[in-house]
């Protein structure tokens, strides 16, 4: 009896302790992600929205959503792509394209370290690269990439953001032409584009490398000793054009293409590039005029490997490699063979030796294929399935995602030994460690960006936001801290210490610096002008009224431009503007900014307009009327504020 009681007490204790330690773990995870009200997060995280075409900004470790920045998709919330100032940002050689598929955010770098100046992101569908200014968190430039389709291996930067690169996922006729799809092997080529940043940070295409018609999947540039090289993965070296899920998965090995862009610069200087006629647009937004303009280019410089020895080499890599990731030292190039269980790691030093010794297996279209054994540094056999992407911490460890086995595996760079593994919920694609693809990772946290959500949160019908999980990687074992939904498809992310960005963040646009062609700087200049059927309303906003707020003499069929200048010069005091019946979105005008709403009045009547952003105690009073008369009416143009017209 005594023994039984003893046993019972013992087992009760054991259960109690087990439960307690579980609660303690949860408490410690909760503490690690707790950022007290009013306190700031330690890191900014930038996640792409995938098919939302936007970038979402989160704080880590709290997982707080800070902002959604419109990039490739029109955004009614901010009037992006709806107001006259930002419409040109979405211009392409096909005209206005209001959507794209945004995959890879990439922070600009100085000496291989993210510097918080810009964020680049690719648009896959109609190939484009956007540049976001991180002092304003606005999209300030979008460049179209010609001779490409599915701009996926993009926009990875070099060590000092000399270039961002863009490799084509689809090979296409180069230059584009009307040919039979079945003539793929004869007519289809790939393009690896190098976009140069000038001193003002403006992007333009320096050159493209013409490569065989494979699919170029992902890229990363070398760093440290491998600075000067950029690596692209390929698949579909079978060159199939239909049922690729089978036909592009036949070869045991595809390639990692290594491009020596410093050599390319030499060839460019020697005039070895050929000018290919094409058409692509560059759209630039100016922070002072608050307007964007489109520039059209009609040719691009193309380097052809047969004519440029030493420009590009192929490193054989097993089973359709997806991500290619360079470790912080620049020595190891990790190929994540997505249809295999193992990771293939190449050595930069061995690659250079193999090139010097001409250890080539064969040559494809002027591109030497290096012997696999001569460049191989090692293989990571983790037991996981479907490796996709690898990032690094500051202590010589690498972390690889496995889509099929839905996990992150931690391994040692150099010894290739597996150290830890953690499950992801579910089917992780990219992962993000702040600075984890740079020369100096901050480490500390890892975010798994998952493709499948299922039961992780309260259900929201068939479609759910994708899930992300935050892990603490500061210890030997990864510890999951937080699970949070993201916007669209958070394809990839970038993280950076908050201090690098937060002190550069602007609070207002100085009104004195506003050079918008239709700005006004005071209420005294507020007016309405007619030129034929074009009517320009020069309007101001300040808490809590518009000037003018009564307007008459507009007619059905007029083309009305409302140029609204926000005279506020205080932080976080935007004003919005919406007009009843306007087939348009609102304006959302920042302090010191001018934006334009285009409106074609349809029917006679008196139409209210109002401020849409709750601005002050008298926000509901911030409104006005516009009278619209028949086209034949002779009512004179007039306006007022504070008195009857």
């Amino acid at each position: 009896m005594l023994t039984l009681t003893g046993l019972f007490v013992f087992s009760a204790c054991k259960n109690g302790m087990k439960q307690n330690s579980g609660i303690l773990n949860n408490q410690s995870a909760a503490q690690k992600v707790y950022v007290a009200p009013g306190e700031h997060d330690e890191y900014y995280a930038f996640f792409s929205g995938g098919f939302s075409g936007q970038v979402s900004v989160y704080g880590l470790p709290s997982g707080r959503l800070l902002k959604i920045i419109p990039v490739f998709s029109v955004d009614a919330e901010k009037g992006y792509g709806f107001n006259e100032e930002t419409k040109p940002m979405l211009n392409t050689s096909f005209g206005f394209v209001p959507w794209d598929d945004a995959h890879h955010p990439e922070l600009s770098q100085t000496n291989g370290i993210p510097d918080g100046r810009w964020l680049f992101i690719n648009g896959n569908n109609t190939p484009r690269i956007a540049k976001l200014d991180l002092s304003t968190f606005e999209t300030t430039e979008i460049i179209e990439i010609p001779n490409s389709g599915g701009n996926h291996s993009s926009p990875f930067t070099t060590e000092n953001s000399e270039y961002v690169v863009a490799g084509t996922r689809f090979s296409v006729p180069f230059p584009q032409k009307d040919v039979a799809i079945g003539s793929y092997k004869d007519n289809f080529k790939g393009a690896l584009s190098f976009i140069k940043l000038d001193e003002d940070g403006h992007m333009d295409i320096a050159f493209q490398v013409l490569v065989p018609g494979y699919d170029y999947d992902l890229a990363h540039s070398g760093k440290g000793k491998s600075h000067g090289w950029t690596f692209f993965t390929t698949y579909n070296s079978e060159q199939s054009h239909t049922l690729k899920e089978i036909n592009a998965s036949q070869n045991d090995k595809d390639f990692i293409a290594a491009v020596n862009w410093k050599k390319a610069e030499e060839y460019l200087a020697q005039g070895k590039a050929q000018d290919y006629p094409t058409e692509y647009l560059i759209n630039r937004y100016d922070e002072h005029s608050h307007t964007s303009t489109s520039i059209t280019r009609n040719s691009v410089k193309v380097l052809i490997p047969e004519e440029c020895p030493g420009l590009i080499y192929y490193l054989p890599t097993p089973k359709s490699p997806h991500g290619v990731d360079v470790d912080p030292t620049g020595e190891y190039i990790v190929g994540n063979g997505k249809l295999s269980a193992d990771l293939t790691v190449h050595s930069f030093d061995k690659m250079m030796t193999a090139i010097a010794n001409e250890a080539f297996e064969e040559t494809i279209d002027g591109i030497p294929v290096l012997k696999f054994e001569e460049v191989l540094a090692g293989t990571v056999s983790s037991g996981g399935l479907g490796p996709l992407h690898t990032e690094f911490d500051a202590d010589g460890n690498a972390y690889t995602t496995f889509f099929i086995s839905s996990e992150v595996v931690k391994w040692k760079v150099g010894s290739w030994e597996v150290l830890d593994r953690a499950p992801c919920y579910y089917s992780v694609g990219h992962l993000m460690i702040p600075g984890g693809d740079s020369k100096k990772p901050w480490g500390k946290y890892l975010v798994a960006l998952n493709k499948i959500t299922k039961d992780r949160y309260l259900p929201t019908g068939p479609e759910m936001n994708h899930s992300a999980q935050l892990y603490d990687i500061s210890g030997d074992k990864m510890e999951m801290l937080l699970d949070f939904p993201t916007v669209g498809e958070p394809h990839y992310g970038q993280g950076i210490a908050a201090d690098v960005i937060k002190n550069r963040s602007k609070k207002i646009y100085p009104l004195n610096d506003n050079t918008h062609p239709h700005n006004i700087k005071s209420e005294a200049e507020a007016r309405v002008e007619r030129d034929g059927d074009v009517v320009r309303i020069y309007m101001t906003s300040i808490r809590s009224h518009f000037a003018p707020d009564n307007i008459e003499g507009i007619k059905v069929g007029d083309k009305v431009y409302v140029h609204l200048t926000n005279l506020e010069q205080d932080w976080d005091t935007p004003h919005g503007l919406s007009i009843m019946g306007a087939r348009n979105a609102e304006l959302l005008v920042m302090p010191g900014q001018t934006e334009t709403l285009y409106w074609e009045p349809q029917k006679p009547g008196v139409y209210p307009f109002y401020c849409t952003d709750f601005c002050s105690a008298l926000h509901q009073e911030m409104q006005g009327y516009i009278r619209v008369s028949e086209a034949t009416s002779d009512i004179k143009l007039s306006w007022s504020l504070g008195e009857s017209i």
């Binding site: 899920e245 089978i246 998965s249 249809l339 399935l385 479907g386 099929i404």
Partner: protein, 122 residues
């Protein structure tokens, strides 16, 4: 139900992992059932399985000479667990470039009809 995972030697003895533990096949093919099964197959399965060739997944032709009827139904009804735990399904998953078989949410009755249709494919 899980014990078969250890016996890959005789595939016909492997009943797979899932809700189906015992299927009795009639002496003759039930044509009405097979016809319904064919229609279900064409809607739910044909995107990845072709009768006369290896496609995204294997051909079901002659499958009942290679697999037990229980295994076939469990593969249809419980593919997620099958490709993780059943040795035969695991091997097929690797062979087919890691394209996981999709769970099309068939009922047991529908799966049984598809099985009847498979009996007609010689």
């Amino acid at each position: 139900m899980v014990e078969t995972a250890e016996e890959p030697e005789d595939p016909m003895a492997n009943k797979g992992i899932g809700p189906v533990s015992e299927v009795t096949l009639g002496a003759e093919i039930d044509e009405a059932m097979a016809a319904e099964g064919k229609s279900i197959f064409e809607t739910m399965c044909a995107a990845c399985h072709k009768i006369d060739e290896k496609f995204i997944g294997p051909s079901p032709k002659g499958i009942l000479k290679r697999r037990s009827p229980e295994w076939v139904m469990n593969m249809i009804l419980n593919p997620e667990q099958m490709i993780k735990e059943d040795p035969v399904a695991k091997a097929l998953f690797i062979e087919f470039n890691m394209s996981p078989m999709a769970n099309q949410n068939l009922t047991e009755d529908q799966a049984r009809k598809v099985l009847e249709y498979f009996r007609t494919l010689e």
